[in-house]
């Protein structure tokens, strides 16, 4: 297993590109970065972005629940309040909008935890390593 420690963003990207150009399979390259370098994603191959579906469905669910909650509750005991219609849309749309944001944000957060596989099992143990330099680890051979 080869391990490279790079001090700067540029050195890190150069090394990555060199490794990929030399024929190393991107699947075998594990990197740890002290901060996000988006170009690394392009070098190592970008998969589809699945987080936005969590946000989108969360948002739609929020809007739906907001309208469902308000309309159901007001129809289950219809009282005329303030001369407004029973199903009065302006306030109900407002509640729907707020729940869109709430469920969208929570959905995105849940999606992140799922997709990034956090909390990882190593959170309790001491060997989770968030390095201060860029670390590239290349797994060679079977069952590394």
């Amino acid at each position: 297993m080869a391990r490279f420690v790079c001090e700067s963003r540029e050195e890190f990207l150069d090394r990555l590109r060199a490794l990929v150009d030399a024929g190393t399979d991107p699947e075998n390259i594990r990197v740890r970065m002290p901060f996000y370098v988006p170009e690394a994603l392009q070098v190592l191959g970008e998969g589809p972005d699945r987080l936005r579906f969590f946000a989108l469905f969360g948002g739609i669910a929020g809007f739906g629940s907001g309208l469902a909650l308000t309309i159901y509750s007001v129809l289950s005991w219809p009282i005329i309040v303030g001369g407004k219609p029973i199903v009065s849309l302006p306030p109900f749309l407002l509640i729907g909008y707020l729940l869109t944001i709430l469920f969208g944000a929570l959905g995105a957060f849940a999606g992140f935890l799922l997709l990034a596989r956090l909390p990882s099992g190593r959170s309790l143990a001491a060997d989770a390593e968030f390095p201060e330099r860029f670390v590239i680890a290349v797994e060679t051979g079977e069952g590394a």
Partner: protein, 350 residues
């Protein structure tokens, strides 16, 4: 394709031709209905002032999209002189306003004309100074931008309160002024979006990388402004709906009682909020100049519908004359942008 261009020398003639043509169409006929010049004026004042204002804000905060579109947008700064001239032409039509017969201290014809002309000329003066400095890359550009924006906010506020809101005197909505100048910025951005689409055709693989990012900014800004606009519209509507006070609700009731006006309402709500929001939600949509251009054009149509919605019940107008006047304006604006190389001083941008 368009072979006509203006130069510095011929520009005043075209300008005068526009003014004469508009006067002819407005006053030359025997048709009833006096609101078309007002409607045209309100719409184009918003659009022209808003375009320069959007550029001014971009220059102030250091946005990047302006670098690609600077000359196209600033080319229209001489058009800022058209609203004051047309306002003078509007004087015979001022009997549209309910306060014309019963003037008060604020709403009387001389003061109305004085303050609006003063602000429109201030907008022209500061706008010209800002545009010229911006094109030169002058380091004093941010300061000129600030002065222009002050004049712009004041002028748009008065367009809202004096020109449109007082048609329904004594109806008041304190948000109206702010609503109009935010709309003007939104319209200015939409105009920039349309300009993106009308940029010269690209060769090869598409626009250069440095040019794509600014386009994405415009898409993002249009998306954000659609939400902001929707929020402001909702703020006004919610309070009028909730209070349900007779003196305030007349404004809405008058506009929702007949079908064509209701249709206009649905149209502009869709065009200014739903279409930009849903259309520009995706990442790829924000980057495509076709989508951004189409959405921007729809937004501009939505603004036209909205202005019509506000003005029509209080100031009936002949549709044909209205269309002719607006087409004249639009053609003149296009011609100005197309002739920018001859009209503008040589600048640092392409």
């Amino acid at each position: 394709m368009i072979t006509v261009t203006m130069s510095r020398g011929t520009f005043p003639f075209y300008f005068l031709a526009l003014v004469v043509a508009v006067t002819f169409f407005e006053y030359g006929g025997l048709v009833a209905g006096k609101g078309s010049l007002l409607m045209t004026l309100v719409f184009w004042t918003t659009l022209l002032q808003g375009a320069i204002a959007a550029a001014a804000v971009a220059d102030l905060v250091g946005a990047r999209w302006i670098t690609v579109l600077r000359r196209q947008i600033m080319a229209a700064y001489p058009l800022l002189l058209v609203p004051p001239l047309l306002l003078i032409l509007l004087v015979p039509r001022l009997d549209l306003y309910p306060w014309a017969e019963a003037p008060g201290q604020w709403l009387n014809v001389p003061f109305f004309l004085l303050r609006n002309l003063a602000l429109l000329l201030a907008v022209y003066g500061t706008g010209r100074l800002y545009a010229l400095r911006s094109l030169r890359g002058d380091p004093r550009t941010p300061r000129s931008a600030v002065f222009y924006l002050f004049a712009f906010v004041a002028s748009q506020t008065l367009v809202a309160f004096d020109w449109v809101m007082s048609l329904e005197y004594p109806w008041i909505s304190t948000l109206f002024g702010a609503y109009f100048f935010v709309e003007a910025l939104y319209a200015g951005l939409a105009l920039a979006g349309v300009l993106c689409f009308l940029l010269p055709p690209r060769q090869g693989e598409g626009l250069a990388a440095e040019e794509v990012k600014p386009l994405r900014d415009i898409g993002l800004l249009l998306f954000g402004f659609s939400v902001l606009w929707g929020g402001l519209f909702f703020a006004q509507y919610l309070l009028l709906w909730y209070g349900n006070l007779p003196e305030e609700i007349q404004f809405i009731a008058r506009r929702l009682e007949s079908l064509p006006l209701r249709a206009l309402c649905v149209l502009f709500l869709a065009a200014n909020f739903l279409v930009p929001f849903l259309g520009l939600l995706g990442r790829r949509a924000k980057r495509s100049d076709r989508v951004v251009g189409a959405v921007a054009a729809i937004v501009l149509a939505g603004f036209f519908a909205e202005r019509l919605f506000f003005i029509l019940p209080a100031a009936p107008m002949p549709v044909g004359i209205l269309l002719v006047e607006n087409i004249l304006f639009f053609a003149f604006w296009l011609l100005t942008v197309h002739s920018r190389e001859y009209l503008l001083p040589a600048g640092t941008e392409s």
